[in-house]
Each structure stands twice: as C-alpha cells, then as structure tokens.
Subunit: 285 residues, 2 copies
C-alpha cells in the first residue's frame, strides 16, 4: 500500500517506522525535515507538503500537535487525495473538527477516520497503542490492517468524532489520575514519611494506577523529562472541557485538573512531562 504520513515527531516517527517495516511504501512530510531523516534513511520518501504526500496514496495519516495543525494538514489531503483514499487522523484533536473534516472528505469521495491513540511514546515504539476510531464501519474495517501495525487494541466508538470523544474521556482519567498520584506524594512528603516506602505500600492496592506505577518513580527521582508533554495534556483538557460544557455535563474533577495544569504551563513547564505537576506541589526536587 502507498501511505502518506504527516507528522514524524516522537510518536509519529515510531508509528511510520512500523508501516515501513511491514513493507508499505511510505511518503513522509513533517514541519522540521530533520525529524524525518531516520525514516528517509530507512526507505521512506520525502514530500514537500501534505498535498504532495497524499498524491497517489491509498491512505494518508496525520499525527500532529494541535487541531489547527490537523486542519491545515487535512486541507492539503482534501485538495490532492485520490478518490477512495483513507484519511486517518491519529492526533488527539477536536471532535467537532473531526466531524467537519469528515463531512468535507466524504463529499469528495474520500474515506475519513479519526483515530487518536493512547499509550505514549513507549506504546508507539512497541506498537502496543490503543487506537480509538470514529467513522463508518466500512472505513474502520479498511483501516484496520494499517492501524493494527501500530496498536494492539483498535476499537471503533461510532461515527466521525467518536474516536476523539473516547480519547477525551481517556484524558479525563489521566488528568485526575495525575492529581491523585501527585497529592498522595505531596501529602506523604508534608507529613514526613519516606516516599519510597509509601510508594511501595500504596502502589499495589486500591490507590494503584498507571501514573502511580509509571510516573511516581520519576517524580521521586526528580525526572521530569517528557514521556507525554504537559502542554499537550493542557490542549486535551481544554477540548474535554469545551465538549463537556456543550453537553451540559458538570465535571468538577476535570475542571480542577485543567486549572492545575494551566499553572504548570504558566510556570513554564509545558515542555516537561505531565509528571511536572508535582513541581507545583513541592518544588523542583
């Protein structure tokens, strides 16, 4: 299959690599060409724009930063994709935008799917991501062989935008889970307990979570390097809040987490990992 892949950052590069290794013909474009070099060295072809990448493609995938980036990339896809081309957005982005782009794509005889992923840099590297799709059953089925090269679990949630909605639901749990983990450590520290012993005592039971297992140890050793950027979680929480308000559902935990992560950004820690939330509670070390 000929596949266009736009956005070869940390996660995108791993994901495009899986497609390449499976024998697909991969054409890449990304904002900073240097980030695509390892893929080009491994056999991918370079294109100067999303439109150039999608010409002649069977499928085009985007993995970029923000909804505005998705919109720009897809304008290119929509202008130049051949009829019947699968357009798959892997970015965590706006459900409303996904619906709008899907309608435009269908009107041009294209096959759109929103397909945000969870599992982070490690899931991308090890092809163990969870992929949550929104689109028609037929297009989901057609995309499955490609998506299965990058993810272990691929679930269709419904029509256009439904994948994004599920991913936002996921991020709500991630954000409050970060608050849970961080406040446990902050409390234990304030009362003078040995944090390593506390972590051992609480991780295996009802207090256990992915952040407790995977990110608390980083906090304890002062490692705030990004697995997942704090600034990207801020974007996701903004989208989740917007959607929640549209639906009239009140989510005070989400509102609080969004406020706390806004402070992470305001402190200049947006390019650190999400565990940098701990710095708001107990300083840098």
């Amino acid at each position: 299959m000929r596949i266009a892949f736009v956005g070869t950052g940390v996660m995108g590069a791993s994901m495009a690599g899986h497609l390449l290794r499976a024998g697909h013909e991969v054409v890449v474009h990304t904002r900073t060409r240097a980030k695509a070099e390892p893929l080009l060295a491994a056999g991918a072809r370079w294109a100067d724009s999303p439109a150039a990448a999608v010409a002649g493609a069977d499928a085009a995938l985007s993995m970029v930063g923000y909804p505005a980036d998705v919109e720009q990339v897809w304008r290119g896809f929509l202008s130049a994709a051949p009829r019947g081309c699968l357009l798959i957005d892997l970015t965590t982005s706006s459900p409303a935008l996904a619906r709008r782009l899907a309608a435009d794509a269908v009107a041009r005889g294209l096959r759109p799917l929103d397909a945000p992923v969870s599992g982070g840099d490690r899931g991308a590297r090890e092809a163990t991501l969870t992929v949550m799709t929104g689109g028609s059953e037929e297009d989901h089925a057609a995309a499955l062989p490609v998506l299965s090269l990058m993810g272990r679990t691929v679930e269709r949630l419904g029509g256009p935008g439904a994948g994004q909605l599920c991913k936002l639901a996921n991020q709500i749990a991630v954000a409050s889970g970060m608050v849970a983990m961080t406040e446990t450590l902050a409390f234990a520290r304030a009362v003078g307990l040995d944090l390593a012993v506390v972590h051992r005592a609480v991780s295996g039971g009802a207090a256990g979570s992915w952040p407790m297992t995977n990110l608390a140890p980083r906090v304890l050793r002062g490692d705030f390097a990004p697995g997942f950027y704090a600034k990207h979680l801020v974007k996701d929480l903004g989208l989740a809040l917007e959607t929640a308000r549209e639906c009239g559902v009140e989510l005070p935990g989400l509102e609080l987490a969004a406020r706390l992560y806004d402070r992470v950004l305001a402190a200049g820690d947006g390019d650190l990992g999400t565990q940098a939330l701990a710095r708001r509670y107990f300083g840098a070390a």
Copy 2:
C-alpha cells in the same frame, strides 16, 4: 499465642479467621454478637468487653469503624492488658489519636502499633492486605508474624501514627482515582458513547487504575453494593484533610473529592460502596 480481636465486621471477621486457622487462641468481642457467631463456631472464645478480651492476651487487635470507637476499645485494652502485650489498631483512624494512645500504652508497659490496612474485603478474605505500621522497630518486628497472617505486604512507616499517615496518603489516591474513573464514564455517557467499549479502550493504558479495573464494571451494571463503604471513605478524607491543614499542605484534589463524597453521604448513599459516587453524576442506573 493468645490474641484478643475486637471488631468482627466484614473485614475483621476474615482477618480474625486467619489467626484462628493458624492455630492461635482467639478471644473476640464485637458490638453485635451475631457478627461473631461464625468465628465462635470455628473455635474462637467470646468476651463481653474489650477489657475482658485482653485479659491474659499476648496481643490485642482492634478493627472498628471510627476514631471514637478506637479510643473506647483501647481504653478497655489499656485498663486490663498484661505488661508487654502488643496492642495493634488495624482501623483507619486519626494519626494524632494513634500517637496519644501509643504514649498511654508505652507508659503502662504495653507495646502499641497503628497498623491500618488496604485491600478491602477481598484482601481481608484472601490475606493479601497491605499493612502500614507505625510504632517502634521492635514492636513492628514482634507483630510481624501475626500481621503476615493477614497481609501480603507489611511495611513500617515510622513511629506511632506513621502507619495512619501512610493510609491517609493511600486514601487520597483512592478518592481522586474514584473521581477520575467516574468522570470518564460520566463524560462518555453524556457524549453518547457505548460505555462498555469505552471501558475496554481506556482500561489498559494511562487512564488505567484500580477503580477503573475493579469498580467501573460495577458502575456499568448498576451494582452499588459496598466493597468499601462510602461513609468510611468520608471519614478517611476528613482525617486526611485535617492532617493536611495541620501541615499547611494544599491539596485541592483531596478537597474536591471530600466535597463530592459529602454529597454522596447527603444523598443517603453512605452505606453503599464508594462507586456510588457515580450516582451523583448520572443517577441510579
């Protein structure tokens, strides 16, 4: 060993049963005698009061509801325990009270330990609890053979009260983890997604947690029966808040969770499980 056990509710009965099966001589007392009947049938002896239970005992354990109950039971222990007797409180209770009772116990030649547990009814049944102790190293070591019959992990956190402090840290993660899980489902429901598919998609990744794995399925089938009483979590969060304020550490996630669980109580759902929080977000089913 001759062991007094006071408080044979859901968890206490399982725990006392392990001591009995290990060959210890167990003397029980509990507020409602009927709850002790299975233990009496299995060979435990009845005592009419905590003081009567502790007479001649090598160790005395309490597993009751609230700090006021702990204080009352320990007044009995302190009045009648033989010198050198281990006094172990398994209740989640006030760190300040634990310190005060420990001082009284030491003054009478007794060996106090606060040793709250996590792992719920199932952990109690299967002897896989985590036990977090506060007290002297010697008393911790002396209690280890008894505590190991009930728990898989037994960690000493420090002097008197330190076990309680660690358990409160644990409950902070539990409470915000419940908010995380509940709001994920509430959001997914409000936007019209299939909750079973969402649960499948989000459980295995960064959104994963003990409540997501163990309690979300109960919420989805409308099962609000108590594994752990909501009213007891409210008590724990009150103790955590009080302690946090004393230490001057600001924990907005804990404050929010405490407010939300106060509403669970106000709605008359305190005798349901902690997953009844979901009823505040989306009604009884």
